[in-house]
Amino acid sequence: MTTAEVGRARLRKEDAHLITGRSRYTDNITLPGMLHLAMVRSPFAHAKITSVDVAAAKSSPGVVAVLTGADVAAEQGSLPNAWPITPDQKAPAHPAIAVDEVAFAGEVVACIIARSAAAARDAVELVDVDYEGLPVVLDLEEAAKDQVLAHPGLGTNKSATWVFDSGEAGTGKPIREALDGAEVLIERTFYQQRLIPSFMEPRSTVVDPTGEQITVWSATQIPHILRLMLALTLAIPESKVRVIAPDVGGGFGGKLQVTPEEAITVLAARHTGKPCKYTETRSESLMAAHHGRAQVQRLKLSATKEGIVTGLDVSLLADMGAYLGLVTSGIPILGAFMYNSIYKFPAYRFECTNLFTNKAWTDAYRGAGRPEATFAIERMMDELAAELGLDPLQVRERNWIKHEEFPFTTVAGLEYDSGNYEAATAKALELFGYDALRAEQSRRRETKDPVQLGIGISTFTEMCGLAPSRVLGALNYGAGGWEHAQVRVLPTGNIEVVTGSSSHGQGHETAWSQLVADKLGVPFENVEVLHGDTQISQRGLDTYGSRSLTVGGMAVLAAADKVIEKAKVVAAHLMEASEDDIEFADGRFSVKGTDQSTALGEIALATFSAHNLPDGFEPNLDSDATFDPQNFSFPHGTHLAAIEVDTETGRVSIRKYVCVDDVGVVVNPLIVEGQVHGGLAQGIAQALYEEAVYDDAGTLVTGSFVDYLVPGAPDLPHYTTARTETPSTTNQLGAKGVGEAGTIASTPAIVNGVLDAVRHLGVKDIRMPCSPSRVWAALEEAKMTGGVR
């Protein structure tokens, strides 16, 4: 394969239509006779529904129908959870429209169907719901006590407890030995605050029930999974459902869901026989689309006096919110394999208890389990360094897997195929100016400068490319992790690539075109990428978990390989040579040792006309491939942050941010850069800005972007980004995945930096987000307790 395209920083071909307003988002779709939906949502976090009076709403001008939970109880089924992590996992039924109880504020209790969006909205106020309040449980540690139940019918708030023990699994020693024999034992509790994915395009669904098929357009990351799940949930033959994800404006895991609103829009279309549209408001999105993170992490780390880690014991409480979504229960488990990160300690235990609360449901959010794990271990490495008075980098070096030790089987049982932590770190240090910043830090400490400097380090790895189907099977996940692609050669030699992994902002159309252009030796412009419609792309498992390139991209390459094999047969036939003598390079098939050659396009035309094909050869070059990865891929990197803390106000500013990421072979550096920048922004947002806050009654206080602080460009620093390139050995390209790296790595880098700036003043920890008021309060508390060391 030539590499004129792979590695080239091409501008994205999809951008022209996206940035000139020629996009087609779901809400842009208007069908003849289309009706509009508005949802009536519970203002209470936990209540019995004693009656729903829709009479006034029904007679409001423009209203066609009103659906209540009772109206659709028999047909709405229960929204799916595809990941029962234990055989005894408990979960409440999850009706799209609540029938007799609501378990979080924002849950749908009725749906207005009207001739205009305004008429639907007007009637929302006219629905009279009687609620009988029930006690609410909001705090995770309270929920664990089972005194107040989020779902009284379940008898407990505990959904499931999942354990990994390296002693039992045979991947390491028992944790007890490590903890008992510890020369140094660090115990900490960290709080992963609740976050809201905050995708730019709110969720929207249009359903057209006319004809034989139900066509569903939805702002979703997962058209294929949605099709299957809607069919199963609403008892519609799968073959009658077509799902289209048109332009989708971001997801970050937030659109990796089968939502009540999608199911309700199908039900509404079914009831009225008319096309129906639902588009949520931003307020609804913040309150009712699934949230992320929300864990309490209790950690014990044992080490020698030299800073060699001997064991890690992790005990988690994970907030499911009120219901289990598609993969809610598995999110903490995705982190279970990552707490050991790049380090090679011998003993590890992980235990997670999934708990229900009366808050919005949680599920995947960029990084899904891995940011939590990385945060915990990277914070603990800094705590260990502080305890021993060592440089935090030194402690990491003493524990990490050396580049000559790969492939390396970790204490969590994964096989890391490749990596070079030394190289990435060396490069980062050079770009950062580590020693000069450390010198400045001491100066500022000595002069008691009101602005203190801290250096935050995060040497991370993550598992990408979800996922080997067998591994998912072993974890009891409901589906596989393969991806499908088709490469079609048109008579003109133009190429159509059909991918099951559909883009919602990532740039697949560009990257896949680059891959195929090199593979088949055709111009980039001649490749068209088709995706996001289950009628065009019949098979697929969609986009999440940094899987697109390492799984979907490999399926594309495998399908293109098959095209070459097929074309070779025709080439040999046409040039009257043996297949073994045919060589393919730069889009041409040639006969070894001769100057005879023919282009792929010519073979495509010859195949199409079919006048002269080998006996039994089907007249097309089109090929399908399904790729199931044999292993995950393991991007890694070293992130360094220089953090200034204004001790007078508590304000944190990021003075410098350097990241060196190793994502393996890069197809398009511009796209990689974009993913890194966006990822960093979201990770920094968790460290400093964002938190979903509820009041004591269970009402979301951060119900708009006035209070839920998503940072904008002015709030974020200039990033110095660089890469090392250690190819993955588990796929033909050597790629690893980059969609979540920045988010995973940056949060601990920032928080470690904040603490490094103020630790000498006696501050031991600050809960995220490290807002000015929290940092100031921590400084005040340290002053009061005379914590200055």
């Binding site: 305004a118 800005y689 807002s771």
Partner: protein
């Protein structure tokens, strides 16, 4: 995000606007830049039956001199206040404060008068207007009346303006020989003030002759930090003297507690920010 249905009128004169307002009674609402009113209507926290748009009313936008004062029209957009040469010359405090409001879009739509009548305790214009000892000119059915800034802001989102009145202009005395600064503290760039301090200082030789300090978001209305002003008057122009005076900044305030910080934090911020604002205003 769809408001309730409403009627809309776009009068050309203050008199027309006043009679429309009288007709609508308490179901009428004046629309200036819409940057506060439209969001609350879309969230259905307000549902006026009649929206009276002041956008076409003549003579309400712009800045002009009026003897020893400037007359700033209620419909002058924030952007214009921030960049107007007369404001820069005579009350730079207002220009500096207006420049911190939101983003360029909001500053081009949102108006000086709208922000003052809206009287958000976290809004950035009330405290500077209070510190500058401006006068509000109100048109009503019975003619014009004038209200001093100190009497205008009455409580949380509440002012001295009556339901049948329109704010037409704000009269701000000219300040010559004063330094000014608006020190705004937020968590993200585009945010209402957590706390902000509006400071004007007149320096004579090596001493501070006079100071006017207004505090944003330290109570349900903007407040004057009179104890700081008194301590500064006649104080030497040194950082220590300013710091000592600023330690009185929270006296007499009653800040709220919210997600951005509790009352104790706000009191502390008021002191730090007052010191910084005065230091900058005094050109130290």
């Amino acid at each position: 995000m769809i408001p309730s249905a409403f009627d809309y009128a776009a009068p050309n004169t203050v008199a027309e606007a006043l009679s429309l307002l009288a007709l609508a009674g308490d179901s009428g609402k004046l629309l200036a830049g819409g940057q506060s009113l439209i969001p609350v209507m879309k969230l259905r926290l307000a549902d006026p039956q009649m929206v009276i748009d002041l956008g076409r009313v003549e003579g309400l936008a712009g800045v002009r001199e009026d003897g020893d004062a400037l007359l700033i029209g209620a419909m002058t957009p924030h952007h214009q206040v921030a960049t107007d040469p007369l404001v820069a010359a005579y009350v730079p405090l207002l220009a500096k404060a207006a420049a911190t409001v939101a983003d360029p879009q909001v500053r081009h739509r949102g108006t000086f008068g709208g922000a003052l009548v809206h009287a958000d305790p976290a809004g950035d214009l009330p405290a500077p207007v209070l510190a500058a000892e401006a006068t509000f000119i109100l048109a009503g059915p019975g003619g014009e009346r004038r209200v001093a800034a100190a009497d205008f802001f009455q409580g949380y989102f509440t002012t001295a303006i009556a339901e049948d009145e329109i704010l037409t202009h704000v009269r701000v005395p000219k300040y010559t020989g004063w330094g000014a600064h608006y020190e705004k503290f937020t968590r993200v760039a585009q945010q209402w003030s957590i706390v902000a301090v509006a400071a004007m200082v007149r320096v004579e030789g090596g001493t501070i002759a006079e100071a006017r300090i207004g505090l944003t978001n330290m109570a349900s209305t903007p407040v004057r930090a009179t104890a700081v002003e008194q301590a500064l008057a006649g104080a030497p122009l040194t950082r220590d003297a300013i710091a000592a005076a600023s330690s009185h900044a929270a006296e007499g305030t009653d800040p709220a507690s919210d997600l951005n910080g509790d009352a104790a934090y706000r009191r502390h911020l008021a002191e730090v920010l007052t010191r910084r604002a005065v230091v900058t205003a005094a050109g130290l």
